[in-house]
């Protein structure tokens, strides 16, 4: 670990939903997650629906109150439930949502949407206009379209508005929650390139939450793979994609359809049996064991620790990762 304090540090984050005295068992959305994010870095948070990746993002930005653990951003602990402290933090941390149709107020013009955070931060009206126009140019929109409403823009343009709004106060970290998955294929590349350009120009850090591994492999420096509320593998992009060591990561990567018809039938594909278990009633020990072809007795008895393994630099939470080769068998 470097001596420099990371921009974001999460220690043992836990988020359970449902009252502890309630009759129904609590939904264990996030179970003991720790990770760090350096300034200017992109960390991918990958997993399937219900794995807790969005809940993690929402806990970080303070939209959810964690059940346990600690989040330190920019040298200060995130003070959940304290509105003033959160508002101050949001100057440096912003969220971009998946659905550019639902996340913009249809009754506000783009100018109003983009000037609102500026006004709330106390910026003078005269300066606001220049900043809005600068923001629109930054994300590739024509400033003269500021008087238009969200419905007058295409999906890709609306996502650009969402990004511009997030950038209004020069944040250090953007949490991008599936930012391109609602967009048409030919538009996705535009938004990905925009995000990369903005990172280069503004030195932003990204927490990139996504299920599309091709997109993640393109944009992320490091990747954390989640399954049922836990990180099962975390490492650099190269470590995860070239030598996945957790059986779930291996299955996930092998399930991605590759757009080359010549490879049809030539790739080893792991088709997992069954569905992910319910986070209300997770299996004992390793949560993946019910679908894992490597599972043995120990997997039902002990939760595997996320730790570096022999011949692998990434951390893997698997009892058998020591015996697993990078090439899935």
């Amino acid at each position: 670990m470097s001596a420099i304090e990371p921009l974001l540090r999460i220690d043992n984050l836990v988020k359970h939903y449902g009252a502890p005295r309630g009759r129904k068992p609590a939904i264990r959305a996030v179970n003991d997650i720790s990770l760090t994010l350096r300034a200017g870095e992109t960390l991918g948070l990958v997993g399937e629906s219900g794995c807790g990746k969005s809940t993690t993002g929402r806990c970080i930005i303070g939209l959810e109150q964690p059940t346990g653990g600690r989040i330190v951003f920019n040298g200060r602990p995130v003070e959940h439930g304290k509105r003033a402290a959160l508002t101050a933090m949001w100057r440096d941390m912003q969220y971009v949502f998946q659905d550019p149709f639902a996340s913009l107020n249809p009754l506000m013009t783009v100018f109003a949407i983009l000037s609102e955070p500026l006004r709330l931060s106390g910026m003078k009206a005269a300066k606001t206009e220049a900043r809005v126009s600068e923001l629109m140019q930054l994300v590739g929109l024509a400033p003269e379209h500021g008087n238009r409403f969200p419905h007058e823009f295409s999906g890709g343009q609306r996502q650009r508005i969402g990004i511009a709004r997030a950038l209004a106060l020069n944040p250090k970290l953007l949490i991008l929650d599936e930012p391109v998955s609602a967009l048409d294929v030919s538009i996705q590349a535009q938004v990905i390139n925009l995000l990369e350009d903005l990172q280069d120009r503004l030195g932003l850090a990204y927490l990139f939450i996504a299920h599309d591994l091709s997109v993640v492999s393109h944009i992320c420096d490091r990747i954390a793979v989640m399954y049922l509320g836990r990180i099962v593998e975390i490492g650099t992009r190269e470590e995860i994609f070239a030598g996945p060591r957790h059986p779930y990561t291996q299955a996930l990567l092998s399930a991605v359809p590759i757009d080359d018809p010549d490879l049809r039938g030539k790739r080893k594909r792991i088709v997992l049996q069954g569905d992910p278990p319910s986070p209300a009633n997770p299996p004992s020990g390793c949560a993946f064991r019910t679908r894992c072809w490597k599972a043995t007795e120990i997997c039902s008895q002990a939760v595997p620790a996320l730790e570096p393994k022999p011949q692998a630099r990434q951390a893997v939470a698997c009892h058998h990762a020591g015996t697993l080769t990078a090439d899935p068998a």
Partner: protein, 340 residues
């Protein structure tokens, strides 16, 4: 268009025009679309939102709501009969028997108050002379075929007790229940997680192997196309812009849109410095550009006036490869990749 394969096509869509009335006037969602499906093959129909790929399929199924929709021209020949002239009662007999469908959202395609197995059996009883017990037995068998574990118990469960992947498999079972000749699958895996998608691919493969049915796979996922399709139809702005076999399409596309689409995809195991997006956005139905609908976004047109003024016709630019680009011949450079 001459057939790419010997024999008669199972389905031949010829010059189909489907229009909708809207507050902004009549819009043409499908504009002179033609394609063929041969027995047993998988034809992928690829396109973005508004390309007309789903409306074409709904037209084939006779499911265009009228009004506001209207089929304004063309023919849809299924086994030589024009489905547009078939009386509604007969169309109902074809739909669900000879032609069946799988939709994107399995929750809205299943009745929430009836058991899943009952609904599959019902599909058979509606179209065949069969005893209920016999249909029930076959429904369990079908659920097993598409990989539903404990099929006997699952038969009695309701849709809400099924996960998304399981529901989609139940729909696949229902779609093949009457041994159809053609299955139309509209984004069958889009709503599902990656590992569940892989399960549903397998189910689709097994279902097709079991019935030998032809399949129209409507999707925007080029990975899925590469894995499942024999031939591909690419649609843009309500028209077909390119059609050929799957290998040629991926290695030597002859339409700038197809080329741009393939170039814009991020790839696993490949970190190019930058992606190459297609500029602009897909056209809206109301304001379709003149001439070639793709010309405002086209990297290849270079502002040539022909692209603005004339709608390009589909031409066979090399054997069994059709493209609707005035300058398709100029796009033949990537040929060496397919030879290598």
């Amino acid at each position: 268009m001459t057939p790419a394969k010997p024999g008669q096509p199972l389905l031949s869509v010829e010059g189909l025009i489907t229009e909708f009335r809207s507050s902004e006037g009549t819009v043409r969602a499908v504009d002179e679309v033609s394609y063929q499906v041969w027995p047993g093959e998988t034809l992928a129909v690829v396109g973005e939102s508004g390309s007309g790929k789903s409306v074409t399929a709904m037209s084939v199924l006779g499911l265009i709501p009228r009004p506001p929709g209207r089929i304004a021209g063309g023919r849809i020949l299924f086994e030589g009969r024009d489905l547009l002239t078939v009386p509604p009662a007969e169309m109902r007999a074809i739909r669900g028997k000879a032609i069946s469908m799988i939709f994107q959202d399995p929750m809205t395609s299943l009745n929430p108050v009836l058991s899943v197995g009952f609904q599959i059996a019902e599909a058979m009883l509606a179209h065949g002379d069969m005893r209920r017990s016999e249909a029930a037995g076959r429904a369990v068998e079908l659920l097993r075929t598409v990989g539903v574990p404990n099929a006997g118990e699952r038969y009695h469960q309701f849709p809400h007790q099924f996960s998304g992947g399981m529901r989609q498999r139940a729909l696949i079972a229902m779609a093949i229940a009457n041994r159809p000749k053609l299955v139309i699958a509209d984004e069958p895996t889009t709503a599902l997680d990656v590992t569940i998608q892989a399960q549903v691919f397998e189910a689709l493969r097994l279902a097709q192997a079991e019935t030998q049915a032809a399949m129209i796979l409507i999707t925007h996922d080029m990975g899925l196309v590469a894995e499942l399709a024999d031939r591909v139809v690419v649609m843009y702005g309500g028209r077909v812009v390119e059609t050929t076999d799957v290998r040629t399409l991926f290695h030597a596309p002859r339409h700038p849109y197809t080329k741009g689409l393939l170039a814009s995809l991020p790839r696993l195991h490949e970190r190019s410095e930058r992606l190459t997006p297609i500029p602009g956005a897909p056209p809206s139905l109301v304001n379709r550009p003149t001439g070639c609908a793709f010309h405002p976004r086209c990297a290849h047109s270079a502002g040539r006036p022909m692209c603005r003024s004339e709608v390009p016709a589909m031409r066979e630019v090399e054997p069994r490869h059709w493209s609707a680009c005035h300058y398709a011949e100029e796009l033949g450079q990537s040929r060496e990749r397919i030879e290598a």
